[in-house]
Amino acid sequence: MNTLNKQLAFVIDLKRCIGCDTCVVGCKMENAVPLGQFRLKVYDSQQNFQLEKPVGLYPDLSMSWLPTMCHHCGDAPCVRACPTGTLWRREADGMVVLDRDKCIGCQRCGEECPYDALSFDPDIGTADKCDLCEHRHADGGGPMCVTVCPTGAIHFGDINDPASNLSRQLGKHAHQVLNAEDDVRPNIHYFAP
């Protein structure tokens, strides 16, 4: 596959995440995500995103949170699965883009995504996903989840730009991606909780 000049990505510092779900609320409000649907979810230590609870026995309890959304994979399974070209990878910035006008609501993308990052809008019958709040980019804004996070846990930028804040952060801390064995080149990197 070709090398992209620009690759938009997230870095999420799980140590800073306090599970407040402000990112979820900000995302839903900014993008008018329908009731019961999510472009972004925050899972707890047991992978629940609702009714979160800690693991362990009192007093040795542990709890961390895991915000996750579309990983804008370099080798996106949703793009491969989509029968209508609704989803594709934009070379200019590496974003996985969804064209709702082409979507036929087959939900094959949701079946293939290793991160369960596709939601489905039952009102209009199409898939829905994180678009990095692209409409805010023109005014210099970033994704709403980044803006509203009260602890500054979510960072956003060009991972291929060595001067970006994202690259500097990655250079300083150990990081992992989720479900690395799926080998889909995801673009959300996590710091330790």
Partner: protein, 441 residues
């Protein structure tokens, strides 16, 4: 006769539709590094046909929007494209195909994805009326011709009440045309859905102003005044059309394969392939509308004219060409958009003896499940996409659904599905707990 110098054997894909495009994409994804040549009889790159009867017919989209993949994709993946020229013969012994313009192309392996062509109306007068007067809908050029006529046509008659006919009817009546649909059977969508679903769609069309005439056996066409066409039915009824569109099915393009001696299925009409999309020649695969695959229940063969089949069978064919064996066994599915209604059908209804309704058709949202005894065979979902997606997994993963569960619209079918996604990091993070933090102090 000349031999194409650009061609370096490798894999030749004959056909310019969705299966051909998917085949090429999967070949490269699977790591095939040899030469790929695409031979298509249409002038442009492979494009999606479903929007032709919807967004493209309405004039809302340009042809480029229909492309399955942009031209840069083919250039980037080193695909030679020979467009606007049909393949006319396959020499299996010499591993060579001949094009209509006389050129020959060598192949190591050949993929046939020649698709279908429209079934032409064959009644007295059809030949006379055909020149510019009888329209079919299969290609971009077909729709461009229809759209050119729409500027002056008021009365539109559509022969055929299948998916194409009804989608076109829905679009044109919304654009303000007077639309009549003539269906030979006693209901619309006769081959594909149960009477309840057919009745629902028939009612919706009539509510929007489409006149649907069932049992209408067209026996003749005549040229009327001012470029009109007169359609004559067996019962003597006559319909005058400013624009006549015929959607009475398609025929597989298998003549090339037949002439080359590849085994074809008499009943379904397609090129016989196995579950790996291999034809009767070990060096040739076939995929899409033109291929007849093993029927999962009857022991015979079946041909599917769906996007899903084109995509998934092409994937299978490409992996086979790459030396891997991934069988193609999936519940077929198809969709149709009409007005604000989306019909999504999954599975095959033949053999069904019980129908279970979920939801109320009067609300515009319902699903009809088809069972053979207790075994789920298929579902037709109208504006209930969650039912459709869950049922596809139920069928593909062979998960049982009871009649009671199917009938209960409040029961989430997804509850029956095993959790599929598990989020995990390869390396465990250091524990974060009171004692761990205390120890670290």
């Amino acid at each position: 006769m000349t031999v194409s110098s650009a061609n370096k054997a490798g894999i030749v894909v004959v056909g310019g539709g969705q299966a051909a495009a998917q085949l090429i994409e999967t070949l490269r994804y699977e790591g095939y590094a040899g030469g790929i040549t695409l031979v298509g009889d249409e002038p442009g790159l492979p494009y999606q046909r479903p929007p032709l009867s919807k967004q493209y017919l309405a004039g809302a989209r340009a042809p480029d929007w229909l492309l399955y993949r942009p031209s840069a994709f083919y250039a980037r993946h080193g695909v030679d494209t020979l467009l606007g020229v049909a393949a006319s013969a396959i020499d299996r012994a010499a591993h060579r195909i001949t094009l209509a313009d006389g050129r020959t192309i060598a192949y190591d392996q050949l993929a046939i994805a020649t698709g279908c062509r429209v079934r032409k109306l064959s009644v007295p007068g059809a030949e006379v009326c055909d020149v510019g007067g009888v329209h079919y809908l299969r290609t971009i050029a077909d729709v461009d011709r229809i759209r050119a006529r729409l500027t002056t046509a008021r009365r539109v008659v559509i022969i055929g009440g299948g998916f194409i006919g009804l989608e076109v009817a829905a679009m044109l009546v919304q654009l303000g045309h007077t639309v009549t649909v003539l269906e030979a059977q006693d209901r619309v969508l006769p081959r594909v859905v149960a009477p309840l679903v057919a009745e629902f769609f028939s009612h919706q069309h009539q509510r929007h102003g489409v006149r649907i005439v069932t049992g209408a056996h067209v026996v003749g066409l005549r040229v009327g005044p001012e470029q009109t066409r007169e359609i004559v039915c067996a019962d003597g009824e006559r319909h005058l059309a400013d624009l006549l569109i015929v959607g009475i099915g398609v025929l597989p393009n298998v003549e090339l394969a037949q002439a080359a001696g590849l085994a074809c299925d008499r009943a379904s009409g397609g090129i016989i392939v196995d579950e790996y999309a291999r034809s009767s020649d070990a060096h040739i695969v076939a995929a899409g509308d033109c291929a007849s695959q093993p029927h999962p229940r009857s022991g015979g063969h079946m041909r599917l004219e769906t996007v899903h089949n084109a995509v998934e069978q092409a994937r299978t064919a490409a992996t086979t060409l790459c030396g891997k064996e991934v069988p193609y066994r999936q519940a077929p599915w198809v969709w149709s958009d009409q007005y604000a209604l989306r019909l999504q059908a999954v599975g095959m209804i033949e053999g069904a003896d019980t129908e279970v309704l979920r939801g109320d058709p009067a609300t515009g949202k319902f699903s009809l499940f088809y069972f053979q005894d207790e075994r789920l065979l298929a579902a037709h979902c109208v504006n209930r996409s969650a039912d459709f997606a869950a049922t596809r997994r139920l069928l593909n993963e062979d998960i049982a659904l009871t009649h009671a569960q199917a009938a209960d619209a409040t029961f989430e079918l997804s509850q029956l599905l095993p959790a599929r996604v598990r989020l995990r990091f390869d390396q465990p993070w250091p524990p974060r707990s009171r004692s761990a933090m205390t120890n670290n102090l």
